[in-house]
């Protein structure tokens, strides 16, 4: 372990503080994600569930971040907000310097299409469509013509070493292969962030390792990755680990600090 590396604040922690404490101000676009005081509450017939109680996050380009925390701590809720699938009740969410938290449904759909690649625990592929067609789908909604779509979908499948399984339907693929298709689909529109909510949760440990290597490689190539996971050894692939507890950020460390804390 390298001491100097450990002390040097990644993404400049001081700078991060400044960005997080200037509410209402558009952050520099080098920050892919800035959330200020994000709250998400569910009204369950009188009883209010506070899934997120004010989350402040600043993630810059090319970061590889793991989000951990106990079950029910709000990890998925946070990912859904970051992924523009859900809108917060309060707080600001800036994506690439634009305020997303007040966007219309249509604008959010466009952001999901262009800026976000989402990988889910349950793969979420269309069962009746081939791998190629599944990967093409975001391009369909982007209005890209068929030839171009096919070309780019094939490229994306090649990036996850699945170009030889293009014409297979999800039920003809292994879990690991399905998740690769999902990753290819997430990447095909060249999103600014790749989100993954427990991407290895449904996979055995060996396949999980394979999938983690895919994320690792993407991160090395400069893709911004945010991943939710329960497993410390999976989180240890990331370069930064955020721990949520009761809908709040408990710790936000470099991986080395994190592993130290855990005594690994």
């Amino acid at each position: 372990m390298n001491e100097t590396n450990l002390d040097a604040p990644i993404g400049a922690t001081a700078e991060r503080k400044v960005v997080l404490q200037s509410p209402g101000q558009a952050p520099d676009p080098k920050w892919v994600i800035v959330t200020r005081g994000i709250k998400r509450e569910y009204d369950m017939g009188g009883e209010v569930v506070r899934a997120l109680r004010g989350v402040d996050l600043a993630i810059s380009r090319n970061e590889y971040v793991a989000i951990m925390g106990p079950s029910g701590s709000g990890k998925s809720t946070l990912m859904n907000v970051i992924g523009c699938l859900d809108t917060p009740n309060a707080g600001e969410y800036w994506l690439n310097g634009t305020l997303v938290s007040s966007m219309s449904d249509d604008a959010l759909a466009r952001v999901r299409n262009k800026e976000i690649g989402f990988v889910f625990q349950t793969f979420n592929l269309l069962p009746r469509a081939t791998a190629l067609h599944n990967v093409e789908l975001p391009l369909v909604y982007a209005g890209i013509p068929s030839d171009e779509r096919k070309k780019r979908a094939k490229e994306a499948l090649a990036r996850v070493q699945l170009d030889h399984r293009m014409d297979h339907r999800p039920n003809e693929l292994s879990g690991g292969q399905r998740q690769r298709v999902a990753i290819a689909r997430a990447l095909v529109n060249r999103p600014s962030i790749l989100l993954a909510d427990e991407p290895t949760g449904n996979l055995d440990s060996q396949t999980s390792e394979e999938i983690m290597r895919v994320f690792e490689e993407l991160a090395t190539q400069g893709q911004t990755v945010i991943m939710v996971t329960h497993e410390p050894d999976i989180a240890s692939h990331a370069r930064r680990v955020i721990v949520l507890r009761d809908g709040e950020v408990a710790t936000d460390d470099r991986r080395e600090q994190f592993t130290q804390r855990l005594g690994m």
Binding site: L85, D106, A109, R112, F118, N124, L125, V140, Y141, G143
Partner: protein, 413 residues
């Protein structure tokens, strides 16, 4: 999502769920089949009435002066009794009409009676429509002779007992023989065959090839009792333009002969192809309306079925909708997808119905004298209605689909 992709997706869904789609389409398909077939049959009847009936049976630009209409529907008892009190049309009336006609008009007297025919080769059989006519009749009805000749004015004046016979009578009563010069008895009275008519076929169940015509002044007029009461006086105008004036002329002659005051109504009718056609148009309107009513009910049922199927489809594919939304489908993309899907479904049903409908009307044409006349407008209507039904039926399910929350939708199994 581009239209083409949406239609392809819809067809794919159809292909995958063949049986379900079949039942979904049944309502629309049957309705459209019916619509196409009914319109085709009615149009066919129309053609038939206009060409065969009005042309062959009544004659072009022709009217009959009659005591009461031969073509009737919905006659009340009262009317019928009033008709029976009317003066009869007599040969004298016929002569008076002839005297008043312009030179270019054609004229004939006609009487008819069902009679029993017999020959040396056949002594019984169905009754034969036996007519006593003046020679002008052949020209007016455009009747042509295949062998022999028609009778002339002289033979009529002399009351020669000659006869021109229909092709079927010739075949039946003189099998494999030349009927010319042979004897045909009508109600036991002998006539000499001098001509055979061209084959004409059947009009409204009346076999035109089972008629025979003898001179008006021959013994036939005794058989038909023409001297007391004519079936009608037939008048033909040279052009359609001359037709109304000709009717006016004849009407005045008849009113004068019947001594009608200006305030009194005609106590005779001038029955022409125009009256027959006017009657037909009334019937046709009714048939078309009836023909539309059933498919309309079918389409409502079809629409309800499609709506239910689409609601089920939306429920079954909630997850798919969530997935699509998560990768960038806007609400209106989802709306469009399901609208296009239900419209495609319905149009496929309509196309199926068009094919079946054309088949059905071809079938009707094959087993009946009605020609198939598939109206292009009915095909256009069927496709439009099909798409319309699909869009209306799909509107509610599609709107429900588009309003789903992506996270909720993705969590469904």
């Amino acid at each position: 999502m581009p239209l083409f992709d949406a239609v392809r997706l819809a067809l794919q869904t159809l292909r995958v769920q063949k049986l379900k789609s079949f039942f979904t389409l049944l309502g629309v398909t049957i309705s459209v089949t019916f619509l196409i077939a009914v319109v085709s049959v009615v149009e066919g009847m129309s053609k038939y009435v206009e060409q065969d009936f009005a042309g062959k049976f009544l004659g072009v630009n022709t009217f009959n002066v009659r005591r009461f209409p031969d073509i009737q529907n919905d006659v009340t008892d009262l009317e019928w009794r009033a008709w029976q009190r009317r003066p009869r049309i007599t040969p004298d009336d016929g002569e008076a009409i002839k005297a008043a006609l312009p030179a270019d008009a054609r004229w004939a007297m006609q009487d008819l009676q069902w009679g029993q025919a017999s020959s040396a080769f056949k002594t019984s059989g169905q009754q034969v429509l036996s007519m006593a006519v003046t020679p002008g009749y052949f020209g007016i009805k455009d009747l042509n002779i295949t062998t022999g000749r028609i009778f002339n004015d002289q033979e009529d004046a002399l009351g020669s007992n000659v006869v021109v016979i229909g092709s079927e009578i010739a075949e039946q009563y003189f099998p494999n023989l030349d009927p010319l010069g042979r004897e045909l008895r009508i109600n036991k009275f002998p006539f000499t065959v001098i001509g055979v008519l061209e084959k004409q076929g059947t009009v409204f169940g009346l076999n035109l090839d089972r008629q025979i015509m003898a001179p008006f002044h021959s013994y036939m007029s005794i058989i038909t009792r023409a001297r007391l009461n004519l079936y009608g006086v037939v008048v033909q105008a040279s052009t359609p333009a001359a037709y109304p004036a000709l009717q006016q002329t004849v009407r005045e002659v008849m009113r004068k002969r019947h001594r009608l005051r200006p305030s009194e109504d005609d106590n005779f009718v001038l029955e022409g192809s125009d009256t027959a056609l006017a009657q037909w148009l009334t019937i046709k309107k009714f048939l078309v309306l009836a023909g539309m009513f059933l498919p309309a009910i079918g389409l409502v049922v079809g629409a309800i079925v499609i709506m239910n199927i689409m609601l089920v489809a939306v429920a079954e594919r909630t997850r798919e909708i969530g997935i699509r939304m998560s990768i960038g489908a806007r609400r209106r993309d989802i709306l469009r997808q399901f609208l296009i899907e239900s419209a495609t479904l319905s149009v496929v049903g309509a196309i199926l119905g068009i094919v079946l409908g054309i088949g059905l009307s071809k079938g009707v044409a094959a087993v009946s004298p009605l020609p198939a006349a598939v109206a292009p407008w009915s095909i256009l209507l069927a496709v439009t209605v099909g798409a319309g039904v699909g869009i209306i039926a799909g509107a509610y399910p599609a709107s429900r689909a588009s309003k789903l929350d992506p996270i909720f939708a993705m969590r469904q199994e």
